[in-house]
Symmetry: D2
Subunit: 349 residues, 4 copies
């Protein structure tokens, strides 16, 4: 089977580089265009891009000339890692021109007809695409993936929500440096330190969680009736966000019941055999000091979310600790999994 | 006035060294004895002690010969930084022999007749001493100071409890390496990492908070009716614990009211002019990314607790961030302040 | 072909764990025995061993019961990661009992009839084995691999020595935490710090370099006539030692000539197709700020040494920067490559 | 005595902030003007300046309005922390207008009539000022202080040069993050890493060392005949540069002789009673693992350079380790000490 030609929009930034790395050996997709802002346009990728992520730049893209992020491009699907202001212009232009756009930006996450999707959690939200196309008159469409921290939280609570009815969540995060992009956080700000603030992050977590756990019916999305209080912090960790979660339920489970449900969680069968999907999306650790970001972030190339310390909470029902790889499952890997699901569902022309 | 001769029990450990440093230039106290376990006994302090804290060992103690931690010692007050098993034997022996013991260990913190005290918070709990002496037949007595993390939490919520009636607390901590003593946490465990577990810490915080905010009446101590859920984590920070707090009240204040009460908080007048007492025990930061452990831990030699990000909570009433210097206010400095209060109240013979 | 049964001596320590990890999927070797000191004996490996390295413990060894490090064991080759005092007793016992011993300890590194080998550098030193067996009356033998830092230095200067005659080396190191084993360096000693001392390391580097670059003729090993000055430092890096090297030669090359020789360096053909051998043992970086330990330590599973900043030196002839993965090429991986070479040369019965 | 009114040029950058902090309580100087580039002009310092150094911004400057860095200013002396391009224009303008300029930039460090001075090392170089004024027709003048790393090296080798005749120096550095200013090094570049390159630093060290140790005679400065090879590295340390030094001498001392000379080193008497001068500029550590940047950078407010591990070198004569506080002695503190010396010598009108 010929590979599907894809473009990366915003290819020179940190998330764009993660897309490039993940796509370099992908069984279904082949990069045919790298697009970025004017300053990079016309230069070979190896010169336009200061490669800041692990490993060397894949050989196949080194000499590819960076193009302007505008249609037409010789691709059928576009991954977007653009900054929000650029994304607001560029992503609709591609959808308008017939492309499938898998976006990792926040530009359209909250639009009611744009699916915000984690395949194992709410693959059915893709049904919003039909209305999106109809309403906007687009031959193509936009699908978005959530904020990195939200991804970890929602994957960990989804199976519990299904079985026990999630109602309240306290979450305090300890987030990795790579979540701020590059150059991101100055070393003088974070070495031997914690910064107890990440702009907009708490609001994103509180809102996106309700969207992801909400229902889509008759082409309408409703938010889940869950109250969430998030406190977000930056810590001196390179990759991997850690979340301390307390959760309250309609039908409170025991820790043992919760662990069993978490361990048995699988995505829908249409998801579990996608190339980037892990066999099981969650792993439950039983050691009392796990999960830890450095030791648990790389499970199955960072696509698995680790959960541990599942125990009773004096205030709500359960406490637990969650680790998610923020640039893999929480960013480029999550958007890639969305793209694979779109292909599987026949939504990429 | 002649200085009061004091002993440091457990003088060679990390907290013991902090006592030694703080006492080196103290206006009221003078170190006359350094005591530690058998291995150190009989050796000059400079040889028995591997000095691991900032600055050089004070000249006055370098050649002092380490003695066995047992009475009699030529002191009237003993600061204890002993390990818990040793403290269980040694602290009562000194109280029995007529000494005032200011302990930073957990050995007797939960005994109903042993005061657990932060001077600005519950100086009145010292009234338990009378019953302690009577019941145990001791001419001396034991006073304890709380766990480092609890100290930060309780100092920050005390003024709010007084005015608004604290009922529920959710707290997630990011704790410094020095809280684990020396050698403490291996660098291979914590560099580029978070360890989401500190043995016994969550239980200590939940219990000690209720004791510190409880009432003493007719020689009896009752625990405060507050429900607390703590999640404790170790992060790669040298000194200074950071706490993300959500609090629920009987009469919920607005963030502005809470800030005003926090800023106006002063200890009782008997406390505020003690040598180690800061003018105001709390400082409220107004920047959206403060307090931070590295930038806020050293205010007034680490005796001030910093509070910031006071804002509404979707689940309880208020959220805020607290930073406390764990080895100063949270350990040796806190116990020293207790000792100063004892002297002021005429309880050190 | 049936795999060769091997034992790991000192299997519960950090280097032992690296052996276990590398051997888990090895095409030629199969772990049949895990041996460690008395405290671990008789317990399943998963309980006896606190797994401190990346990834989970391989499933195949989790339930293997740890045995005493003494012959007989159902293996033909033993990898030794024992502490030096234990190695002095145990390694000869295995050689005496007919086993091939590949040791990563310093116990016998300096014995004149014990080969100290890096396959690409001095595979011919294995000829010492014959005399070792004859002199000691052993059916088996001991082969050793060098200190981690020396490995990086010698691999980088070997090709220059061959072509230009190395005479003087000045080397200052910045060494990773994992080089000190586990628990190793307390975080309170190394966070936001450098420790400019590693016990015995400078002497090891100066001596082992002369041995590795020396000649073996008629069963006698002579040290190379090279003067070396080493300064070794511990820095807050998890894995990967960085070396700043200045070198003086009999026939000084230009930086361009040196780069060419480094790039073209290959081990003997008997080495380059061993399972753990990288295609080229050295990689030369051309960016002015590389190699860096985090970004270059993992090339080809850490078996490649990276060299960069090759430039003139005002005092000697050339300066350069070298990065070596200390626990892979510099420890377990190096000893494993030695074992593969022994098999290839028919020295493992 | 009325304080001397001073201006800080480049007051909003990191070095400028250090000047502001050091001058806040200075016995001789009083800040009357804070100058910075156009973007800051006209705004209160507290708004124009993002305060990134330890402690809070001094109250006295918070509301001072930032002015343009051009004469006239109501000061007699100007401290310059300007970027090099700005310094090339601004510093001569102030000298031309009659001000004494104490510069911490590299703009004029290498001009033959501009003194490059460390007071304890070469106070006599101030005699170049006379020629500078005559040649340039300036009523004022410029005096410069060296690069931070050079300052540490030169202070440590100066006494040895005087007694034993320094001829050759190898130096490898491990430099702190604050040396790169703010925002400086991205945390993603330096956490768990070493960057073996600092642009221009090796050339600066090699050249400035020869200038500082050179002679001034008849108004002419000659470079010292010393060959220096520097290798500079950035490491994850907040403050304090560490240097591994090997030195060769005309009359090689024993380590014991060297230690004695280092310990006895004092600046000229005109220097040692300046307000910012430490009693002894050097401290020699005798522990085998000192000096360390975190534990030794703050001696006497960072104005003392620490030396340790003085021992024989197999290649040259002596090896040693040096720690210097890069932003104190190595930057703002060094320039301030120069200013104090100028006042003492009657050179500030």
């Amino acid at each position: 089977m010929a590979k599907i030609p894809v473009a990366v929009l915003g290819a020179t930034g940190a998330v764009g580089q993660h897309f490039v790395r993940l796509l370099a050996d992908h069984p279904w997709f082949e990069i045919v265009a790298l697009a970025a802002s004017d300053r990079s346009e016309g230069r070979p990728y190896k010169e336009a891009c200061s490669w800041v992520i692990a490993g060397d730049m894949p050989a196949a893209v080194r000499d590819m000339v960076v193009v302007r992020p505008a249609p037409p491009l010789p691709a059928r699907l576009a991954f977007s890692a653009l900054p929000v202001p650029a994304a607001r212009e560029v992503e609709p232009a591609f959808a308008q021109a017939g492309y499938a756009v898998c976006s990792n930006t926040a530009a359209f996450r909250y639009d009611p007809d744009v699916p915000l999707v984690i395949p194992e959690v709410n693959a059915d939200h893709l049904s919003l695409i039909e209305g999106q196309r109809a309403r906007r008159g687009w031959p193509g469409f936009i699908v978005t993936s959530p904020n990195c921290t939200t991804t970890g939280l929602v994957m960990a609570v989804k199976p519990l929500d299904v079985d026990f009815g999630l109602r309240k969540v306290f979450v305090a995060t300890m987030q990795a440096l790579s979540g701020a992009g590059y150059p991101g956080i100055p070393s003088l700000d974070i070495m031997d330190n914690v910064v107890p603030y990440i702009g907009g992050e708490e609001e994103k977590m509180e809102r996106e969680t309700r969207l992801l756990l909400g229902q889509v019916a008759s082409g309408q999305r409703s938010e889940a009736a869950i109250t969430i209080s998030a406190q977000t912090n930056r810590v001196p960790v390179l990759d991997g966000h850690t979340l301390c979660v307390s959760a309250g339920f309609e039908r409170p489970p025991s820790p043992e019941e919760a662990v069993q449900v978490l361990q048995q969680f699988r995505g829908p069968s249409s998801v579990s055999d996608l190339p980037s999907a892990p066999q099981a999306p969650l792993v439950v650790r039983h050691e009392n000091d796990r999960p830890q970001p450095r030791r648990d972030r790389d499970v199955q190339d960072g696509m698995v979310v680790s959960v541990g310390r599942v125990r009773k909470c004096p205030l709500l029902d359960l406490r637990m600790v969650v680790v998610v790889h923020n640039t893999r499952r929480g960013a480029a890997g999550g958007a890639l999994l969305n793209a694979e699901l779109l292909v599987k569902q026949g939504l990429v022309a």
